[in-house]
């Protein structure tokens, strides 16, 4: 389990529901304690030395793993930058290369690796889906979440207008350019309101944290969930 710092510190339930879902198939994820953060915040801001410091914990933590599963597309994608970060360290670069091949975002793991598209869930609500930018555009995760949602019984799916538009998080971007970021998340929530969905589901807690924060600011009662949480709740309900 590559928990990612946001899920670790703020949304541990995402990690928990992932584990519970996988346990139903006899897969018990381990948790190498050495891991801290993938290094993306520092990497994106150009502080690559600091990014490497964090990245080393990830390389060390998963050196012996067969599969690494993470609840975030952007953190998974960040691992693809490790070969670049460690290009001057042959050992690190090799570890990075191997890590890239064995790390999967959660829905990728379920659908591509395990071949599971129907977890046997029932979730009688109106939901809409926000495809996080790094996961969908850069990691290529587009069909997997839709496949999983398609098999959830009694779920009413409403497409989010302009779904592929960035929610405005961008890591330090939200802190450094708060007004532009604020305008972007406001627009995202406007589109969300158009769907009249009860639940917003996504694959990346960073984005969801951003959107949920603005929803709360506007006193909107939409529930924000990671797909793992939704699926697990749906399994319990079934």
């Amino acid at each position: 389990m590559f928990i990612t710092c946001v899920s670790d510190a703020v949304y541990p339930r995402v990690g928990e529901t992932m584990m519970r879902l996988l346990a139903r198939y006899g897969i018990l994820l381990d948790f190498p304690k050495l891991q801290t953060c993938c290094g993306q915040p520092a990497y994106n801001s150009g502080y690559w030395a600091e990014a490497k410091a964090a990245a080393r914990t990830i390389l060390a933590a998963f050196a012996d793993s067969d599969f690494v599963v993470s609840p975030s597309g952007s953190c998974t994608y960040m691992l693809h930058h490790y070969e670049e970060l460690f290009k001057d360290e042959p050992e690190g670069r090799e570890q990075a290369r191997q890590l890239r091949h064995k790390t999967f975002e959660f829905t990728q793991f379920l659908v591509q690796v395990l071949g599971i598209t129907d977890v046997g869930a029932r979730f009688p609500h109106k939901i809409t889906y926000h495809p996080s930018c790094h996961g969908s555009r850069l990691l290529g995760v587009k069909d997997e979440p839709m496949e999983l949602l398609r098999h959830v019984k009694e779920l009413e799916f409403v497409p989010l207008p302009f779904a592929e538009d960035c929610c405005g998080f961008g890591g330090t971007f939200a802190v450094k350019m708060p007004d532009i970021s604020g305008a972007m998340v406001a627009e995202k929530v406007d589109h969300l309101r158009e769907t009249e969905a009860e639940v917003l589901v996504g694959l990346d807690m960073a984005c969801l944290m951003n959107i949920a924060g603005h929803l709360r600011y506007r006193n909107e009662p939409v529930r924000v969930m990671h797909l793992a949480e939704l699926l697990y709740e749906g399994v319990v309900l079934a």
């Binding site: 389990m1 670790d8 510190a9 703020v10 949304y11 541990p12 990690g15 928990e16 584990m19 519970r20 346990a23 139903r24 897969i27 018990l28 381990d30 948790f31 801290t36 953060c37 290094g39 520092a42 801001s45 150009g46 502080y47 690559w48 964090a54 914990t57 067969d66 930058h81 191997q98 064995k102 591509q112 690796v113 395990l114 071949g115 930018c133 790094h134 555009r137 850069l138 290529g140 995760v141 960035c166 998080f169 890591g171 330090t172 971007f173 802190v175 450094k176 350019m177 708060p178 007004d179 532009i180 970021s181 972007m184 627009e187 944290m209 949920a212 924060g213 603005h214 709360r216 600011y217």
Partner: protein, 522 residues
């Protein structure tokens, strides 16, 4: 490469102005949506879009990797056609050449078709200082020229002006009241510019693509003004960024397929003109004398730089502007340079190399990658933005507070025990500021965040503390791993060991020295 009057303000401040300008935001949003959906429809209808993009990318990569050959070929062929070819390292040289040509012809009036490169070198300003009337002839450019402004979008330069503002500007120009209706306003400009086209001494154009093998230049447009400018005046000067070149006419088919669809969703612009030299001796129209000025102005700096050479692939279609959520909210002027949007955010610092001065432009991005997805020649702009940020930090221009924060981050994240200790501390500390599971305090890094949100508090029990109990619980009565699934997992691991490259599971490989290894070599 002047910093321009905008450098006094930061991107943040300029963006703030834009965010508060309701009309601008609506106009930008409407236009970018129209163009974006146009592009999407056109690309879908055409089909195999990604293959065409890859083709476009390969042709451009190849040309740039052999730029000395193709530019040399172009210059030699163009000269045989009768073109006077010039090379300018800097904006000043290019401008000075143009002024020399204009003065030799005792030119009083110059008519110009839309050209970003002439904006880049501030040609109009120089012509005006020399007492020469420089008239923009593209409708949008004419309008902003009357307003004394710069374009805010590569393709639709006057997107930030509404019809009433335009009517006011043109009425002043006309010396009579013009109704704020498109047909009337456009009709006025048509008539006014007719006179200019017919009387002008010199026609100035840019160059969408130069064709190396025949020494030709190709212009794409919808209005007809570039055709006017290359048909009526006796002298023509075409400015060409040194990278705006392809080998052959058959390569032009690929560009003609990608560019109009990416820019506006058209199958082809209304006019696509290939100019091969000045008029022939029997021709009764066309320029008698033709010059092409090939401009460097910082472009050659990108050559040999694995992180930025691909920037020269750009065909100036504007698709990245239409895709960018940041651009959509702040418009073009907030970027503070000639080029705006994602391409501008990289091009301006790259061409100007004064990283410190143009620092915050690269920061005006959430790195969502929409620009890369939209780019018809697959330029990894989102990666280049990170490279710019890194270079700024490496050169010591990093923001002091951010640097301190990042150092703390690095130290914290390098040891999981330290990180865990920090989480424990945070949990304690936040008891003071968390209310109902949320934080509304606007202090420090939360100042901007909580202007628009309620921040979440740290969880009472982080995952790493919860794990042990959870694992123990799940271990009891753990299901058996179904054999099919076990088999799939085994196969995966097996194929990993076999092939050196391992498996790829979607998405693109990140870019450094070219994502597919072919940036410099093709």
């Amino acid at each position: 490469m002047s910093a321009g009057k905008n450098s006094k303000r930061t991107v943040q401040e300029r963006a703030g102005l834009a965010l508060n300008d309701d009309f601008l935001r609506k106009a930008v949003r409407f236009t970018t949506e129209r163009l974006r959906s146009g592009k999407r429809k056109a690309a879908e209808e055409h089909g195999n879009w990604d293959e065409w993009r890859e083709r476009g990318r390969q042709i451009r990569l190849h040309t740039i990797a052999h730029l000395d050959y193709y530019l040399g070929l172009f210059a030699d062929q163009a000269r045989v056609n009768g073109v006077h070819v010039h090379f300018a390292d800097t904006a000043e040289e290019a401008v000075s050449l143009a002024l020399e040509i204009a003065s030799k012809h005792a030119a009083a009036t110059v008519v110009k078709s839309k050209s970003m490169v002439t904006e880049e070198i501030h040609l109009n300003r120089a012509l005006e200082s020399a007492g020469i009337e420089a008239v923009e002839t593209d409708l949008g450019e004419y309008i902003i020229q009357r307003a004394g402004e710069t374009p805010s979008h590569i393709i639709i330069p006057a997107i930030h002006k509404n019809r009433y503002q335009i009517a006011d500007l043109l009425s002043e120009d006309a010396g009579e009241r013009l109704a704020p209706e498109t047909a009337i306003l456009a009709g006025y400009v048509r008539k006014k510019l007719r006179e200019k086209f017919l009387a002008a001494d010199i026609g100035v154009t840019g160059c969408n693509f130069a064709i190396a093998e025949t020494g030709s230049i190709v212009l794409f447009e919808n209005e007809g003004n570039a055709r006017m400018v290359t048909t009526l005046p006796k002298t023509q000067i075409s400015f060409m960024g040194m990278e705006r070149i392809i080998p052959s006419w058959s390569d032009l088919e690929v560009m003609a397929t990608l560019l109009p669809r990416s820019a506006t969703g058209q199958k082809l612009t209304v006019y696509m003109s290939g100019i091969t030299g000045p008029k022939r001796s029997g021709d009764a129209d066309g320029p008698e004398e033709m010059h092409v000025i090939v401009l460097d102005n910082g472009r050659s700096l990108q050559l040999g730089d694995p992180e930025f050479q691909e920037l020269l692939n750009c065909i100036r279609c504007g698709a990245c502007l239409n895709a960018c959520p940041v651009y959509r909210h702040i418009g073009g002027h907030a970027y503070g340079g000639t080029y705006s949007g994602p391409i501008g955010a990289v091009l301006t610092p790259a061409l100007n190399k004064n990283v410190a001065e143009w620092d915050d432009i690269a920061g005006a991005s959430s790195l969502c990658g929409a620009c890369y997805e939209a780019c018809p020649v697959k330029i990894p702009l989102h990666d280049m933005l990170v490279s710019l940020r890194r270079r700024k930090v490496e050169r010591g221009y990093g923001d002091a507070r951010e640097t301190i924060g990042m150092k703390a981050y690095g130290s914290l994240m390098s040891r999981s025990k330290r990180y865990h200790g920090f989480l424990r501390l945070g949990r304690l500390g936040q008891k003071l500021i968390v209310r109902n599971g949320g934080i509304t305090l606007k202090l420090g890094p939360l100042k901007g965040w909580n202007r628009y949100r309620v921040a979440p508090g740290l969880a009472a029990e982080p995952f790493r503390e919860r794990y042990q109990t959870l694992e123990a619980e799940l271990r009891q009565g753990l299901q058996e791993l179904p054999p099919e699934i076990a088999e799939r997992m085994r196969k995966r691991i097996g194929s990993r060991e076999k092939s050196a490259g391992g498996e790829e599971h979607g998405g693109r490989s990140p870019g450094v020295a070219g994502s597919s290894g072919s940036t410099l070599e093709s």
